[in-house]
């Protein structure tokens, strides 16, 4: 049995690779599937073009994986293509090196005529030159859901809200783990432990008894209402801040920044950085100032500098590394996967599972580059229900109906990422209390007031961080609805009873008109 810690792209990619090679696996995840860095990125499926000059290894891996993923995970990829836009003549030297790099790497690209560029991207760009590249859009939550479904079909297990509490390395070899889940602590036997905890990999490696040192950095992203561009747009220069825009489902995402950070939890975006990032976006897309921002969010990159000593996160390679803790005086049977990118998650899994197979002494070749990740087929033997359930629209922004919500399992956050409710312009202003009502009806032990409070808090964090332009008005509306219409508690609620405070009945004479 192999235990994988972390149900992000890396952890689920490893579990999928393991089950395909016939190895039993259980994934444990402290939060939800994708609640770490894998659910907090801009959605770019790299072609490698971004790293063609600065990071050839990452570039080559990205281009290889770009082609593989378009083949095996088509249901989660929106193959929009992308453009690299040179905004200033002064970036000419970089452009020449970039074209050399692209040719060397064999990544296809072609120059785009400026006259047709705005039609191709759907937005007028500040372009001096532009090149088409095979970038695409990766729908992270969709792909994680596909991985989880396919892992379960082949007998793998994914346990959410389950945290690693200890590792049994008796005699210098991994023998089991102690996990802490919703039902308390329990021990599980394990032959191999794989640490795929992303930015939390430091904490997990400490439990293994061989602490790794990661170089964490966070990226800031802004979500804009409506799909204002049709393709990915990158700025053609040394990778920097605010130089990627990705059309993602019904929105567009501007990224990103690279700021060193100590803690693995995604920090609240600082307003100054949000303003700066938005202004940077203007260099490439002058009209972006009139776009409507919905929210800001951050994701923490688990970069691994190894022995390199640099304080600038942009200088750290986007390449990944599989660490066998045995080679560093750690226990046998413990592996950590660090660094890397969403785009290369499959390759990271392949390298890791190759090592695990060799350790277990039973090598079978990897098949994840050939077996497509298909959505589960509906059971054709089930009669089609004549009454499709509650047709009432609960979330107007995203047209989510009652029966879609009622069909969801897991936490309220899972309902959100599974149905997309509260992800539109109003960010749950009108629908959060409705969805929480359905959620509490389905989960009788849950406390309505604290669920709603928690959900609002999470939505408001991102909305507040980008409360600029029309979004400031939207946030004002959210406050008015919450506190004046619904009478929600301004302070942290202690219980249902103190939400309503009764006025002193005799304090003032009652008078009628």
């Amino acid at each position: 049995m192999v235990i994988v810690v972390g149900a992000g792209a890396t952890g689920l990619g490893i579990a999928w690779d393991l089950v395909l090679r016939g190895i039993r696996v259980t994934v444990i995840e402290q939060g939800e599937v994708g609640s770490g860095t894998s659910g907090r990125f801009h959605g770019l499926l790299h072609s490698g073009a971004r790293y063609a000059v600065t990071d050839p290894v990452a570039a080559e891996d990205c281009w290889h994986e770009n082609q593989v993923l378009k083949r095996i995970a088509a249901a989660a990829i929106d193959d929009t293509g992308g453009y690299f836009v040179q905004t200033h003549e002064s970036d000419e030297a970089y452009r020449i090196r970039w074209e050399q790099g692209m040719r060397q790497m064999g990544i296809p690209y072609r120059a785009e005529a400026l006259g047709t560029l705005s039609r191709a991207t759907g937005e007028s760009l500040a372009a001096f030159r532009a090149f088409y590249v095979p970038d695409a859009v990766l729908e992270g939550f969709r792909l994680l859901q596909l991985l989880q479904q396919n892992i379960r079909l082949l007998g793998g297990d994914v346990l959410v809200h389950t945290r690693l509490a200890g590792v049994n390395t008796h005699g210098g070899t991994v023998r089991g783990v102690l996990v802490e889940g919703p039902d308390g602590q329990r021990e599980m036997a394990a032959d191999v432990l794989i640490n795929a905890a992303g930015p939390w990999a430091q904490n997990v490696s400490a439990l293994i008894g061989d602490k790794l040192s990661l170089q964490l950095s966070y990226g800031l992203m802004l979500i804009f209402a409506q799909r204002r561009i049709k393709t990915v747009v990158n700025r053609l220069r040394e990778p920097g801040d605010g130089d990627i825009i990705v059309p993602h489902r019904e929105v567009a995402i501007l990224g990103t920044t690279d700021i060193a950070v100590d803690e693995p939890d995604a920090p609240q975006p600082p307003i100054d950085d949000v303003i700066k990032l938005w202004q940077l976006g203007k260099d490439m897309v002058p009209g972006i100032e009139n776009w409507r921002v919905l929210r800001a969010f951050t994701g923490v990159r688990p970069l691994y500098a190894g022995t390199a000593n640099t304080s600038d996160p942009r200088q750290v390679s986007r390449d990944f590394k599989v660490i066998d803790h045995k080679t560093r005086q750690g226990p046998e049977g413990a592996f950590s996967v660090v660094g890397g990118k969403w785009t290369t998650f499959r390759l990271m899994a392949e390298h890791c599972v190759d090592d695990v197979c060799r350790y277990l002494g039973a090598y079978t070749p990897c098949r994840t580059d050939r077996v497509p990740l298909r959505p589960p087929q509906p059971d054709l033997h089930q009669p089609i229900s004549p009454e499709p359930g509650d047709q009432t629209i609960y979330c107007e922004c995203e047209s989510v109906k009652g029966h879609q919500l009622q069909a969801m399992d897991g936490s309220l956050d899972n309902w959100r990422t599974g149905t997309w409710f509260s992800m539109g312009p109003c960010q749950g202003t009108v629908c959060a209390h409705r969805a929480v009502t359905l959620y509490c009806q389905k989960n009788p032990g849950e406390d309505y007031a604290s669920q709603l409070r928690h959900f609002r808090h999470e939505r408001e964090k991102g909305m507040q961080a980008a409360a600029l332009g029309i979004n400031a008005r939207q946030w004002a509306l959210q406050k008015a609805v919450r506190f004046q219409t619904l009478g929600e508690s301004w302070d942290e609620p202690k219980g249902v009873a103190d939400i309503a405070t009764r006025p002193e009945k005799d304090s003032e004479e009652e008078y009628r008109t």
Partner: protein, 373 residues
């Protein structure tokens, strides 16, 4: 003296009404619908200790508003009381239209929800009501009416119930349930009981069931506020106040200018433009907070200022221009639950800054002209 009021939320409508009652020449101009459709029409007072007027002045202002609404056909209940939200929380309020449930002393309730109306109170909210009132409510959900489909918003529900077919659908179902509910318990229905004939329908159901019948408010679009808005605007039109649709871009040398080139003279201007919520204050992408009409910078959002004070930033008097409602600085009705008091106090202050003290100057001709009522 000619006046222009900008904005047709509650502050703008009130300011224009008071000016009209004092015989002043007044125009009301607004770029948008105003915020009336966002709230059910209750006016909250918050903590009276925090308010900038004395008790007698307050009583005059509240009575003035309730009589003004009364003259439009909106009956109200005045005094501290509690009303119920669609999530089962009780909320303190002060002036409340009589169609909405509002009482100083909540007792046992019969609550009805409509299937297919997502903001109906649900069984999950009942424990909150029980905790707050000390009584377990009787709760029923009515099935969707024939002809319902997923496009039915609250407004569509209201026009259904305004019609004979809808009223009959509702009355029939309620009459079946009525014997099972103890006598005397008030019946609470979602706030979609007609857009126009609300009072009449509620009274008719009440007579049939021999019990008081009220509505509980839903989130926007809110029928309560829409009814008040429609009656209020009609009242102003009937009394000769021009309601102009247009976007004011500038007030310069005592002239108002619209973005389409129209312009007129105004000796005094009241900005009832709703602060950040109404669009009268803009937060620019670079973090500068600016008054939309005068383009005056009110501040800059930085990591240091944080968001805490921003919703209290606003304007006051600036020559012949005064701000009222949410546009006025210092108020945060979401935190302090004093939206109604804010409207009354700021409109009074703004008019007074521009030379009209509605508490001392007798009103001319007609409505409530005798001093102090």
């Amino acid at each position: 003296m000619s006046w222009t009021v900008i904005g047709r939320g509650p502050a703008g409508l009130l300011a224009a009404s008071l000016l009209n009652m004092h015989g002043e020449e007044c125009r009301l101009v607004a770029a948008h619908e105003g915020t009336m459709a966002l709230w059910s029409g209750v006016m909250d007072r918050g903590d009276p200790e925090l308010l900038p007027l004395n008790a007698e002045e307050w009583q005059t202002l509240w009575t003035l508003l309730s009589r003004l609404w009364g003259s439009m056909g909106i009956e109200t209940r005045l005094g501290p009381a509690l009303t119920l939200s669609c999530t089962g929380s009780l909320k303190a309020t002060f002036l409340c239209p009589t169609w909405q449930y509002c009482t100083p002393d909540p007792g046992p309730l019969w609550i009805v929800a409509f299937e297919g109306l997502p903001d109906s109170l649900q069984d999950i909210h009942l424990s909150a009501i029980e905790a707050a009132t000390g009584h377990s409510p009787f709760w029923q959900r009515l099935p969707r009416p024939p002809g319902w489909d997923d496009s039915w918003t609250a407004v569509r529900w209201a026009s259904f119930i305004d019609q004979t077919e809808g009223k009959f659908w509702l009355k029939t179902l309620l009459q079946d349930l009525n014997p099972r509910v103890p006598a005397g318990w008030p019946l609470l229905l979602p706030q979609v009981i007609g857009r126009i004939r609300t009072g009449e329908i509620l009274r008719e159901i009440g007579r049939d069931l021999r019990r008081p019948v009220f509505e509980y408010p839903l989130v926007m679009p809110s029928l309560g506020g829409m009814r008040i808005r429609d009656l209020w605007q009609a009242w102003l039109r009937n009394r000769g106040v021009p309601l102009i649709s247009g976007s004011v871009t500038e007030y310069l040398k005592h002239r108002i200018h619209l973005d389409d080139g129209r312009s007129w003279g105004a000796d005094h201007v009241l900005m009832a433009t709703g602060g950040i919520l109404g669009g009268g204050i803009k937060v620019l992408p670079n973090g500068v907070v600016e008054e939309a009409i005068t383009h005056r910078a009110l501040g800059q959002i930085t990591a240091e200022t944080g968001w805490g004070p921003v919703f209290r930033w606003g304007s006051e008097a600036n020559g012949s221009l005064s701000a009222c409602g949410r546009q006025r600085s210092g108020w945060d009705p979401d935190r302090d639950r004093n939206g109604g008091a804010m409207i009354l106090a700021t409109v009074y202050q703004a008019l007074r800054e521009q030379g009209l003290n509605i508490l001392t100057v007798p009103r001319k001709g007609g409505l409530m002209s005798h001093a102090g009522f």
